[in-house]
Symmetry: C2
Subunit: 262 residues, 2 copies
């Protein structure tokens, strides 16, 4: 089985489980991690465990990097093969929220470069998939970023994130928030990035994400014709230190970067 | 027919039409009003016209205040009966957007006080209804606001709105954005306000809304146990000049107001 097929089958298998637990989310066990609104549910853990079991079967030699527990560290060999998962990106939105803005993200990388990625939005049923060099797709339909070029006509997701980074994003992205045509904040990286890939948004900005937050969606954005970078325009380093992340439709990328007060 | 029954029947009748047009939104005629991202579609106009016709039939003597065209002005007699509509609140989100955060809002007021209101979210199928003194409901189930009391555990929608007011909301709500447990921005007043009513959010802040943006949702929030006010805590005046709007679960209201740099 190819890696992209494994990603598709795994996400399709998990979507129903997560959708069902979301429907009965009042009964889901939730606990706080570092602060009151940094949440972890039993569903995050179950999704990660299920994927771990499937990987152990299909690719027993491959390392698995994921958000929860002791999987949350770079692979021992950064040059080798690696699987990267965020079991639920947007856990806050899973626990609360009229609009269920959360997704499951699974990526496959080799040598620190994402080769394939998938994002599943369990409630809408959308499945985004991309393989390096082969395009990006939503439910089988080819994706293209938007053609917007002017910042004052651009829709930007400014991810305000949790309290620790909020002062910085307000300072850095303040001029962007001021200049953009429209600003949104769903606080789920996969939502912001996949929206850029399918042309619903023109840009996405966050002060700092972990590999599992963006790896899968990064290849989806790039294969849809978009661009990703750090705040200063340098490429993202999958397991390195990045100063911020900008994703865009490519045509508005430089204008976003110029607007940032880094 | 009672006013709340008229609201229910009208919104239920409109939901299918709007959902259908949303599904084929690539073919919907869109034009800009005051600037590139201030959008008006043929669907906004059709919803308003359909409602106008239904009102002319059911309540021929009542004035009708609505967002589009020459309906966008206060009624001649502020002490009399009045119907207030936003045909689509969140038109931007109707035109673009993975998460269809828009709704139809219809309210009935007497003497500048909202007596009944309904908000329909066509894509999710949710119908919020409230009659003064009789509680608020979503799809028939009674609504209650959340019990969150601390600002650093509160989820706040800070509506960044369009470019004209964005400098002010960033200045006024900057400390709130910094202090809140979680911050979201869907830029659709009905979404923010109904989320407060059903306990998915704890507060909502906007620098300035028109009567049609908030009238229906205001009574829904209040009948769910929440509170609404201007930035300084004074009550909203339906057709008067208001300095900002704050809606909350009531328990976190004063903390929100204290945080604002008005």
């Amino acid at each position: 089985m190819s890696e992209i097929d494994f990603i598709r089958d795994t996400l399709e298998g998990l979507a129903g489980y997560v959708r069902g637990r979301y429907a009965e989310r009042g009964a889901v066990e939730v606990r706080s991690k570092t602060r009151a609104t940094d949440l972890l549910t039993e569903v995050d853990l179950a999704v990660q465990r299920k994927t771990e079991a499937l990987l152990a079967e299909a690719y027993p030699a491959d390392p698995f990097v994921a958000e929860e527990g002791d999987r949350a560290k770079p692979p021992a060999d950064p040059e080798g093969r690696c699987w990267i998962m965020d079991p639920i990106d947007g856990t806050q939105n899973f626990v609360r929220g009229l609009f269920p803005a959360f997704g499951i993200a699974l990526a496959f990388a080799v040598g620190g470069r994402v080769q394939a990625g998938g994002v599943c939005l369990p409630v809408t049923g959308d499945l985004f998939l991309a393989e390096r060099g082969a395009g990006a797709f939503r439910n089988g339909a080819r994706l293209d970023v938007s053609g917007v070029t002017a910042l004052d006509e651009a829709w930007i997701e400014v991810d305000l994130g949790g309290p620790p980074g909020r002062k910085r994003i307000l300072r850095v992205a303040g001029p962007l928030i001021d200049a953009a045509g429209a600003v949104r904040c769903h606080c789920a990286a996969v939502i912001g990035l996949c929206s850029v890939a399918c042309g619903d948004l023109d840009g996405y900005v966050h002060t700092g994400l972990n590999a599992w937050d963006y790896a899968a969606a990064q290849v989806i954005v790039e294969e849809a014709g978009g661009r990703t970078s750090q705040f200063d325009g340098r490429p993202l380093r999958l397991f390195g230190d990045n100063d911020g992340i900008v994703a865009s439709n490519r045509t508005v990328h430089d204008a976003i970067i110029r607007s940032l007060a880094v």
